[in-house]
């Protein structure tokens, strides 16, 4: 049976070394560049011929724009619109990366924890900096929950700090685990198809259903990642 983990293997395409650090161009980097290229092409081509009555192609990119704008307005408010470009690029990058990984012979870079962790860490540092720059020292009142008696504070503040520090971890593990579990499951069922002979038609149907489910997960995880980013931004911008 084919090895279901094999698909996550990182292969060096152009080996590069900077002193002792390995900075090779791998299949992961190739698909990241491919994702960015596809997004740019899609957005540039779709709004190439701007019309008041949009074509269907133009409508798709307007749909993306409106979706993110509504998300920011609902979760952060008017002040969050400054960060539209960040949230929009984040959403499209994760979404297209997830969807591109579903194609046969492609590679899913979001199924590697280091990629998602760096994304989450970047957001964590960014949100913390935004909070500190906007509110100064007052930002740290985020760790003092409202309506808690003073006697409980020595217990509550460490808990709040720990749950604040756990944000990048929960953000990254969620995306990575969902993508990796889904892709492994697809491969495991695909392995059954051949080894079961004629009864392989049953796992084949399961695989078809799972592929549809994976498309849903790809959308949902991109959505969840960006919504949580919005919520964290909201915490930083509008202190309680």
């Amino acid at each position: 049976m084919a090895d279901p983990i094999h698909q996550f293997e990182i292969k060096k395409i152009v080996p590069l070394k900077l002193n002792d650090i390995d900075i090779s161009f791998t299949n992961s980097s190739l698909f990241m560049i491919l994702t960015v290229t596809i997004i740019s092409l899609f957005l540039i081509l779709s709004i190439n011929k701007k019309k008041i009555i949009p074509s269907r192609f133009q409508l798709t990119s307007e749909l993306f724009y409106k979706f993110i704008l509504n998300m920011i307005n609902d979760n952060v408010g008017q002040d969050g619109q400054k960060y539209f470009s960040l949230i929009f690029s984040l959403f499209t990058f994760i979404l297209f990366g997830n969807l591109l990984g579903l194609l046969p012979y492609s590679f899913t870079f979001t199924s590697h924890i280091i990629v998602t962790f760096v994304l989450a860490m970047f957001i964590f540092v960014f949100v913390t900096l935004v909070g500190i720059l906007m509110h100064g020292f007052k930002f740290f009142t985020l760790f003092v929950p409202k309506g808690v008696p003073i006697a409980m504070l020595p217990l509550m503040v460490p808990i709040e700090v720990i749950s604040y520090l756990s944000r990048p971890i929960s953000l990254s593990i969620r995306l990575f685990a969902n993508m990796m579990a889904g892709h492994t499951m697809l491969k495991v069922f695909a392995g059954f198809i051949f080894s079961l002979g004629i009864f392989g038609i049953a796992p084949l149907f399961v695989d078809v259903a799972l592929t549809a489910f994976e498309v849903l997960v790809a959308f949902l995880q991109a959505y969840v990642f960006t919504v949580l980013t919005c919520l964290y931004l909201n915490d930083a911008i509008n202190l309680h």
């Binding site: 309506g147 217990l155 808990i159 709040e160 720990i162 749950s163 520090l165 756990s166 971890i169 959505y223």
Partner: protein, 101 residues
């Protein structure tokens, strides 16, 4: 003919209005519910991971092997439970506290 068309237009407008209000609210709420279900499991575990790291680091620093690990483990579990509690609060199942707005 004209009359029929007008009638049709009226019905269409009414239907659109009804559908828009209903659908939008329902969809949004469903998506948020799924969101919370996906969230809560990891939300419970990740503070524990952070707490274990902090505990081990402090123990190494102060040479006090199990003390800080135990303290932070307890804090981490509590943080996880509070996280899940807060996530569920948005669903409207909350006990005790009131909603913010």
């Amino acid at each position: 003919m004209n009359n029929k068309l007008k009638d049709f237009n009226k019905r269409l407008q009414g239907f659109k209005k009804k559908n828009l209000n209903k659908n939008n609210l329902k969809k949004n709420k469903n998506l948020k519910d799924i969101n919370i279900v996906f969230k809560s499991g990891i939300e419970l575990v990740s503070p524990v991971i952070v707490a274990v790291f902090i505990g081990i680091f402090l123990d190494n620093y102060f040479q006090s092997k199990p003390v800080f690990l135990i303290i932070f483990l307890i804090l981490g579990f509590s943080a996880g439970i509070i996280n899940v509690f807060r996530a569920v609060k948005r669903l409207g199942f909350e006990v005790g506290f009131k909603k913010k707005k």
